[in-house]
């Protein structure tokens, strides 16, 4: 919990000017964190910071539009804030960003895969690079890097890219993201890929947790998935419908997705949803040399109009 005290101090310092600050607190057990909406100094004292703070709190910002909100962000979360600002979905003057350097967060799903069940957590301790979890009287030790979220191993942005208050020492190491996971998937045969998605989509329960957790999904009540006008998707419980929704979601996020992985993390049945979005982002990167959520003043390629694109030869004659 490095930097936590300094962070708390800074938040307390700024709290009088803000309606609230969003951070994390311990959830219903020691392993699970939960978003914390701090309005008073007592609230601030409940805050935690570390590899268990998995949520991307930028997701809350569009729905808090109009209020003065502080938000605590990791490097990846800050990209979502930047993308939201770029798309004018939030106002810069209304938010205060508390940025931190992050060495990675855990994947509860990976821990669950190791432990079998996460229902009887007794205690959780983070100690440097290791994680000790006591379940049902037995202690389990993990190396953090073994149970870190996939996005962390390819993280290029450990430090918040945008912050009004930055706490801690910036991390200089950066991994390269060459979209190798997408390449590997694309090396599979078409039939195998089809079978992969059919089997995955058949497990989807249409809960739309992926959509609700997504910081860039701002339609909410007007999502085409549940709209009858326009009537894009029926409410039939079919693989086609579920898959169609994921396709729409991916298309809406092409070049906008900041790859925070909230869709995958929120999915109760563990569908590899980020893979779809990374495929789109890979194409965007190759075609437009653009990466979402890195510059406020940039324009998302698919959300702008150009008579002639630099890399698309529309007049091959």
């Amino acid at each position: 919990m490095q930097y936590l005290n300094e962070l708390k101090e800074k938040i307390k310092e700024n709290l009088p000017e803000l309606d609230m600050v969003v951070g994390w607190e311990q959830g219903f057990d020691s392993l699970r964190a939960s978003p914390l909406f701090m309005r008073t100094e007592d609230d601030v004292d409940k805050m935690i910071w570390g590899p268990l703070c998995v949520h991307n709190l930028a997701t809350y910002l569009p729905s808090l539009k109009g209020k003065k909100v502080g938000v605590v962000v990791k490097g990846c979360d800050s990209r979502s804030v930047i993308q939201l600002l770029q798309e004018k979905l939030i106002k810069r003057d209304d938010i205060m960003v508390f940025g931190l350097p992050c060495t990675g967060v855990v994947s509860l799903r990976k821990i669950q895969d190791n432990l079998g069940s996460l229902d009887y957590i007794e205690s959780t301790e983070v100690d440097g690079d290791s994680l000790n979890i006591t379940v049902d009287g037995t202690n389990h030790a993990f190396k953090l890097e073994d149970v870190a979220a996939n996005k962390c191993s390819r993280c290029q942005y450990h430090n918040a890219l945008l912050s009004d208050v930055f706490i801690g020492d910036p991390i200089t190491e950066e991994a390269e993201d060459e979209y190798t996971d997408v390449d590997e998937f694309e090396d599979m045969s078409l039939e195998d890929r089809m079978a992969f998605w059919v089997s995955n989509m058949s497990r989807c329960v249409s809960c739309y947790a992926c959509r609700n957790a997504c910081p860039m999904c701002v339609c909410r009540d007007h999502c085409v998935a549940q709209s009858r006008d326009p009537h894009w998707i029926t409410q039939e419980d079919t693989v086609q419908n579920k898959w169609f929704f994921q396709m729409i979601h991916s298309m809406h996020l092409a070049g906008r997705c900041t790859e925070c992985g909230e869709c995958e993390r929120a999915c109760p049945v563990g569908l590899p949803l980020l893979l779809l979005k990374r495929k789109m982002n890979k194409e965007i990167k190759e075609l437009f040399a653009y990466k979402a959520g890195t510059l406020i003043d940039a324009k998302t390629p698919l959300l702008s109009f150009k008579v002639e694109e630099d890399n698309i030869n529309e007049r091959g004659w």
């Binding site: 798309e87 004018k88 979905l89 701002v218 339609c219 007007h222 999502c223 085409v224 709209s227 006008d229 326009p230 009537h231 894009w232 809406h252 324009k299 698919l302 959300l303 702008s304 109009f305 008579v307 004659w317």
Partner: protein, 659 residues
């Protein structure tokens, strides 16, 4: 909903390869279809009466006509519906001619596809809504871009018709290519003598505002209400003060400036007036050659100018003119013959273009009308003309015929004999194309009365020998190789689209073909209209044209503008995007993607929302595919209408695979 379906035979155009009776029978079984029949010609008067009667007898809510492309007859049938008391947008057209009967011969497959298209049209119509047009005021001023003969004619006709005309010309004088010509075919009358009076009329007409040395920078707005930003390029001369006396030209020491008007046959001074009949007759400085502007020395013109008109610090200026319609008359440019290695690729000074030869023939040209060949200034005795240089040649990407080269080559051969009675002209040609009034007779005169030798065949190479050029080519009528020792070789260069034509097209939002020539709305029936309302074409910007055709088009475009402006208000097309304010989250993504600037941000009870400005929206639909929540919908092409089409198409099981 009660929908009537009418399947047109179009004589045998459709019925020849589509079982139209079966299509009508099957269409009757579709949901919401209350009536279906086949009809010989749906667009004919009895055909339209049949539609009207069915609407009235059966109380139909909408009509589907399965016939030809909507490009021609959609307006026809919309009016039919209106006459029967229905909203004109409760109509769909299934194109079973261009998309079915004309593209395949398999009657069974065609019938199936025709039915698919009808089913899609019906499904789309079931989701359709009545739409009402709005009226808006128009600005009855017209912009003419390009001051060549087509633009001059268009400007004069519009001005005589009582309209305010803004004429924009890129160079410092109007007149265009025609002003460079010595004589014109087929009457061999002096080009500047017939063009000059028209140019003077432009200058003197009270309704015409001329911007020479100016270019269109930006065009905003829509038919009836365009805002045009025009850049007045710096000429470094105050044109209000300049009297065109020409004293500056006499004294200017920079005499090696590129002479664009004379096609670089000779040079000119850095400050110059293009030609004696220039309109406006004002001097301008070529900044590439002016010693004062390059080295800050000299300044002689400022000293000699009797009216102190020289302004070395002049800057480009942008003026904005509101207009209601635009006539594009930007003309053509000449093919760059140096692409041809067999004609020397530009290495031999005595191989010149037809336009350069025109300047040599002209009394106001650099040689005062004496033909002197560039290499040594001698008068040539043997002159070889080579036709189709940059025309009808796929290998250099110019497969089209430029149309006027046969004629001007004959004219130049005649003029050559007139200038130098002891000369001999040879013309290498592929075919003679002279389909105009008195045109073929003119060619025959060149051959028979002026003794021009016409050799049917292509030239394979040129090479220099003893101060002249040996032209080696084929005589395909004799079936042998010929070699002619020429003193001068004139290349009949073809026409290509004007430099920068595509950029201007994008500003005007009009389309152009593979060669950069602007696309007319219909090649036969709408030759001067474009698909952008309020933008018209005149002259060679649409394709190579000679003077009579260009003048004709100039007048035609003017007539179209006068027709457009005969009403005080225009109706807007209601097929535009509309924002569902409940759904809109005000993210403004539609504003960013709209190519027309038709969407604005509004404050709706304290919330940011998008709003479509109906008159500017062109109905392209980019915003509707951008908006993630489907809050913005293109009327008559809503998501629901498109999805209904897709659904009906995907539900059908193929009885037979046609792959």
């Amino acid at each position: 909903m009660k929908i009537g379906v009418f399947v047109c035979h179009c004589g045998s155009n459709i019925a020849g390869t589509v079982d139209v009776v079966k299509v009508a029978e099957e269409a009757r079984k579709l949901p919401d279809v209350a009536f279906a029949s086949d009809t010989m010609y749906a667009c004919s008067e009895p055909g339209q009466d049949g539609i009207i009667n069915a609407i009235k007898d059966l109380d139909l809510d909408g009509v589907v006509v399965a016939s030809c492309t909507p490009r021609m007859h959609e307006p026809t049938f919309r009016k039919t519906l209106e006459r029967a008391g229905l909203n004109r947008y409760m109509f769909e057209m299934a194109n079973i001619r261009e998309h079915v009967s004309w593209v395949g011969k398999d009657k069974e497959a065609n019938t199936k596809k025709a039915l698919d298209l009808v089913a899609m049209a019906v499904a789309k119509l079931t989701q359709g809504k009545a739409l009402i047009s709005k009226k808006f005021d128009i600005n009855k001023r017209v912009l003419v871009i390009g001051g060549g003969v087509a633009g001059i004619q268009a400007a004069l006709d519009c001005a005589d018709g009582g309209l305010d005309v803004i004429l924009v010309e890129k160079t410092t004088s109007i007149g265009g290519k025609m002003s460079k010509l010595d004589k014109t075919f087929p009457t061999v009358d002096c080009s500047s003598c017939i063009l000059g009076p028209k140019m003077v009329d432009v200058a003197q007409h009270p309704n015409i505002t001329l911007y020479a040395a100016s270019e269109v920078e930006k065009i905003d707005g829509y038919v009836g209400n365009y805002q045009v930003a025009i850049t007045k390029k710096a000429t470094y001369v105050d044109w209000d003060a300049c009297t065109g006396c020409g004293l500056c030209m006499e004294k200017c020491p920079s005499k090696k400036s590129t002479d664009y008007f004379n096609e670089e046959v000779g040079t000119t001074t850095a400050i110059n007036i293009l030609f004696p009949q220039a309109i406006p007759k004002k001097a301008s400085i070529d900044a590439d050659f002016c010693i004062k502007l390059i080295k800050d020395k000299c300044g002689i013109c400022a000293k000699v100018c009797p009216t102190n008109a020289i302004q070395y610090d002049q800057q480009d200026e942008i003026v904005t003119e509101p207009v209601g319609a635009i006539i594009v008359a930007t003309g053509y440019d000449l093919f760059d013959y140096t692409k041809y290695g067999e004609y020397g690729g530009g290495r031999y000074p005595d191989v010149i273009t037809s336009m350069q030869y025109e300047r040599l023939l002209s009394a106001s040209g650099p040689t005062g009308g004496h033909v002197k060949r560039p290499s040594d200034g001698k008068e040539p005795k043997t002159i070889v003309f080579i036709q189709c240089v940059g025309s009808r040649d796929k290998s250099i990407g110019r497969p089209y015929c430029s149309g006027f080269c046969c004629m001007y080559t004959a004219k130049q051969a005649i003029l050559t004999k007139d200038h130098m009675p002891d000369s001999q002209s040879y013309v290498f040609y592929m075919d003679i194309r002279a389909p105009g009034k008195l045109y073929d007779e003119f060619i025959r005169r060149a051959m028979e009365e002026y003794g021009t030798q016409y050799v049917r065949g292509r030239v394979s190479m040129l090479y220099p020998k003893n101060g002249s050029l040996v032209v080696r080519g084929a005589d395909t009528l004799l079936g042998k190789q010929v070699e002619i020792e020429a003193d001068l070789v004139v290349l009949a260069v073809g026409a290509e689209s004007a430099v920068g034509a595509s950029k201007l097209a994008e500003k005007l939002r009009i389309s152009y073909d593979n060669y950069g020539f602007y696309m007319e709305s219909h090649p036969k029936l709408r030759p001067v209209e474009t698909n952008t309302a309020g933008v018209f074409l005149a002259g060679s910007c649409q394709g190579p044209k000679d003077i009579p055709q260009s003048v004709g088009q100039g007048s035609a475009a003017a007539a179209k503008v006068l027709v457009l402006f005969s009403k005080d208000q225009l109706e807007s097309d209601p097929q535009v995007s509309v924002v569902d304010i409940k759904r809109c989250v005000g993210c403004g993504k539609c504003i960013e993607t709209c190519p027309f600037g038709a969407i604005e941000e509004i404050d709706f009870r304290g919330m940011t929302k998008s709003n479509v400005i109906e008159t500017i929206c062109q109905g392209c639909g980019i915003c509707t595919s951008t908006c993630p929540q489907g809050a913005i919908q293109l009327q008559n092409f809503t998501d629901n209408q498109i999805l209904a089409e897709v659904n009906v198409l995907c539900q059908q099981t193929l009885e037979k695979s046609f792959e």
